[in-house]
Symmetry: C2
Subunit: 361 residues, 2 copies
DNA sequence: GATATCTACTAAACCGGTTCAGTTGTTAAT
DNA sequence: ATTAACAACTGAACCGGTTTAGTAGATATC
C-alpha cells in the first residue's frame, strides 16, 4: 500500500507535522531533522497523495482550458495543439495537469466553467478566443476562478493578459502586397465578436490607410472554410474586386483560394492570397500559401506560467507581451495583375459559390 | 463559504452518514428521510467537494489522455479534436473531466502516465495510437491504471478495446481505383510501429491481392508531410511507378499530391490520390482530395463510456466494434492513364524531392 | 536573576466526505 | 412468548495531508 507521512514520521521518529514542514520546504524544523526526514521519505518511496494534499490545501494542482470551438475547426487549426504543448512544458515543471474541455453545444461553455469551479477541479483557467464584451470575465469573477486571458479584453478585466500582437503580421502582409504593386487588397476577417478577429481587421485597415489605399474591401466570415468561400465570392463579385486578399486564418485562405481557382482565376496571377497561422498543410497547397507564422507554443508556455505565478502570489499583475508573428512568403502572392492596353480583363467569377466538388485542375 | 454535509445534516436533523447515504442513492435511509435530506441540500445549495469526495472514495473523477504526437501533426489531424469532443459528451453526463497531456519529448510519455497514476489524478486512461508490442500496456498494469485501448493491441492486453476497423475504408479506396482501371496502385503507409499504420497497409495489400494485383508498390512514411513527400518520390521514381497512391493519412496525401504536381504530374490525370481521415481542408485542395471518412467523435464517446463502465464494474469485458469508415470520392481520383499507341509516356519525375516552393499553378 | 524572544518540535484540529460498527425499534418466524 | 432478521438510524473512524496552538529549551536583553 501507499506510504503516508505517518509512515515517514514513525520511521524518522518525528511528528507528522514535522514531516509536512520538511517535505514542503517550510520553516519549523532544523536542517538536520529536515535532511533525515527527506532521506527516510525517499527510502520508503513516499509520494504525496494529491487527493489528501488537495483537500488540506484547498488546491487542485490543475489548470483548466475550455475550448468552445467546433471540433472541425480545431482539426485544421495549428494553434491549439501547439498551445497545449506549450502549456504542458510549464505544467510538467510544476506538477500541475491540464483539464481540457471542448464545449461546442449551446450553453456548454458556461456549464464547463461551472463544472471546473464547483468541483474545485482546477485552480485557475486560461481564457482563449477572447470576445468583445466577453461574458466569461464576469462569470469567472462570480466563480472566483483565477484566470489569464490571451490578449487584453476590450472590457474591464481583473485578469492578467498574455498578448501576441497580430498587428505586425497583418501589417507585414499588406506591406508585402503593396510592394508587389497591389492596390485593391481585400480582407476576409474572422468573426468580429472575437478580439483577434477585430484586431486583424483593424491592422489591415491601418496598414491600408497608411499606404493611402481604400479599406472598403472587407467581408466578415467565421474562420470556417465555407465562410471563407462565401466571403471570397462576395469580394470577387465586386466591380472593383481585389487583386489580393488577406485572410484572417489559413483555412479560409485555403478555401478562398480554392474557390477563386474554380472560378477560373489564377493564384497568384489574378489574385494573391495570404493566410494566418502557418498550418502544416499550407506549404503543400497548390500554390503553397503565403501566411503569417505565430508561436503558439511559446504563448501556451507563457500563459501557464502567468497563471501559476498568479496562483502562488508572485505575479507582478502586469500584462505580458510576446514576440509578434512574422510573414512567411510562399507562392500564393505575386505581382499585381497589370491592366495593360489590349489585354482582356481578368476572368469574372460566375454565379453563386458552391461548396461542392470543384472542377479538376 | 461552501455548504458541507454537516450543514445539511444539522438542518435536516440527521447524521452526516444519513446525508451521505441519501445524496448518493445508497440504502440505509427511509424514503421520507431521503426526500427531506435532498430537499434541504437543494435549499442550502449544497455542492459536493470533489476533493473531499475523492479522498474518501479514492477516486479522481477524471479520465486521462496522453497524446504522444508532435503538435504539428495534431494541428492537421481532424481525429483528436473530434475524438476529444466525443469523450466530452460522455464525461459531461457523468461529472468526470478529461486530463490531457501532450507528451512529445523523449521519455515524456512514460513520465506523463506516471504523473497521472502517482498523484491519483485520473481513474483510468484511454490509450490511442496503439503500437506494435506497445510498452504502455505493461506500464499501465504496473501503475494499476485501468485503461481502454483504441483498437485491439497485437500483444496480450487485459484492457477492453474499442475498435474501428480501417480495413473497409482502405478496401473501398482500392476497389474504387481498380474500378477506374488502375493496376499499379501504391500505398504510402504510416509508421509501421503503429497498429493502425500496419492495418491500413495490410488492408491495401489484401484488397490488391484480391484484385490479382501486385503488392510491392509500398513505401513507409511517418504520417508527416515531409515523410509523405519522400515516400511519394520513392514510388514515383520506380520504372513501374504507380498510377494511383493510397495514403495512410490526409496530410501525406496532401504533400504527396503537391509533390507530384511539382514534378509535372497531373492529379488525377497521371496520378490518382486518396487520403485518410477527411480533414476539413481536404475538400479545398486543388483538386479536392478523395479520402476516407471516419467518426472520431463516436469513437471518443464509446471509448470514454467503455472506460467508465470498467471503472464502475459494469463493463462486459468484451471489445466494442464501431461502424467502419467510408470512402468519400472527390476529384483527386480519376480513370487510369491510358498507354495508347503513339502517346508519349507520362512525364517522369526529376531528381530528388525538394520540400521548397513548388511551381505555380 | 528575571523576563522576553526565538527555535524546534508536538498533538490535535481541521479539510469534507464515506463507511463501519453499533443501537434501537419493528416485524416475521418458530 | 421468544428469537432472529431487518431497516433506519447513529457516532466515530478513516482517508492523508496541512496548519494551529501549545510546550520546552536555549539564548538574548534588561
Amino acid at each position: 500500500m501507499a506510504v503516508t507521512i505517518s509512515d515517514v514520521a514513525q520511521a524518522a521518529g518525528v511528528s507528522k507535522g514535522a514531516v509536512s514542514y520538511a517535505l514542503n520546504g517550510q520553516p519549523g524544523v532544523s536542517d538536520a531533522t529536515r535532511d533525515r526526514i527527506l532521506q527516510v521519505a525517499k527510502e520508503l518511496g513516499w509520494k504525496p497523495s494529491l487527493r489528501a494534499k488537495g483537500l488540506s490545501s484547498a488546491k487542485a494542482y490543475a489548470l483548466g482550458l475550455v475550448v468552445a470551438r467546433d471540433p472541425k475547426l480545431l482539426g485544421t487549426d495549428p494553434f491549439f495543439p501547439a498551445f497545449i504543448a506549450g502549456i504542458e512544458t510549464t505544467l510538467a515543471e510544476h506538477d500541475y495537469t491540464l483539464v481540457l474541455s471542448v464545449a461546442t453545444a449551446p450553453g456548454a461553455e458556461e456549464r464547463a466553467y461551472r463544472k471546473l469551479a464547483d468541483g474545485g477541479r482546477v485552480d485557475g483557467v486560461i481564457l482563449t478566443d477572447v470576445r468583445h464584451n466577453d461574458s466569461r470575465i464576469g462569470l469567472l469573477r462570480e466563480l472566483k476562478l483565477p484566470a489569464v486571458t490571451l490578449n487584453r479584453p476590450d472590457a474591464e478585466s481583473p485578469f492578467p493578459a498574455v498578448s501576441m500582437d497580430d498587428t505586425d503580421g497583418i501589417t507585414a502582409a499588406v506591406d508585402h502586397l503593396v510592394a508587389l504593386g497591389h492596390v485593391r487588397i481585400g480582407h476576409v476577417g474572422g468573426a468580429q465578436e472575437y478580439i483577434h478577429g477585430r484586431s486583424r481587421r483593424e491592422a489591415w485597415a491601418a496598414a491600408m490607410a497608411k499606404a493611402g489605399l481604400a479599406t472598403d474591401l472587407f467581408a466578415e466570415a467565421d474562420f470556417t472554410a465555407p465562410g471563407g468561400v462565401a466571403a471570397t465570392a462576395e469580394l470577387l463579385r465586386r466591380a472593383d474586386r481585389p487583386t489580393a486578399i488577406v485572410y484572417a486564418n489559413d483555412l479560409m485562405a485555403t478555401s478562398g483560394q480554392s474557390y477563386a481557382q474554380t472560378q477560373g482565376l489564377s493564384v497568384p496571377g489574378d489574385l494573391s492570397v495570404t493566410g494566418y497561422d502557418n498550418a502544416e498543410f499550407t506549404q503543400y497547397l497548390n500554390p503553397p500559401l503565403t501566411t503569417i507564422s505565430t508561436d503558439p507554443m511559446l504563448w501556451g508556455r507563457a500563459a501557464a506560467q502567468a497563471l501559476l505565478n498568479q496562483l502562488n502570489g508572485t505575479h507582478s499583475g502586469e500584462d505580458t507581451q510576446l514576440q509578434a508573428p512574422v510573414l512567411l512568403v510562399r507562392a500564393s502572392t505575386g505581382p499585381a495583375p497589370v491592366p495593360a492596353a489590349g489585354r482582356s480583363s481578368p476572368p469574372r467569377p460566375s454565379g453563386q459559390p458552391r461548396a461542392s466538388s470543384p472542377a479538376t485542375s
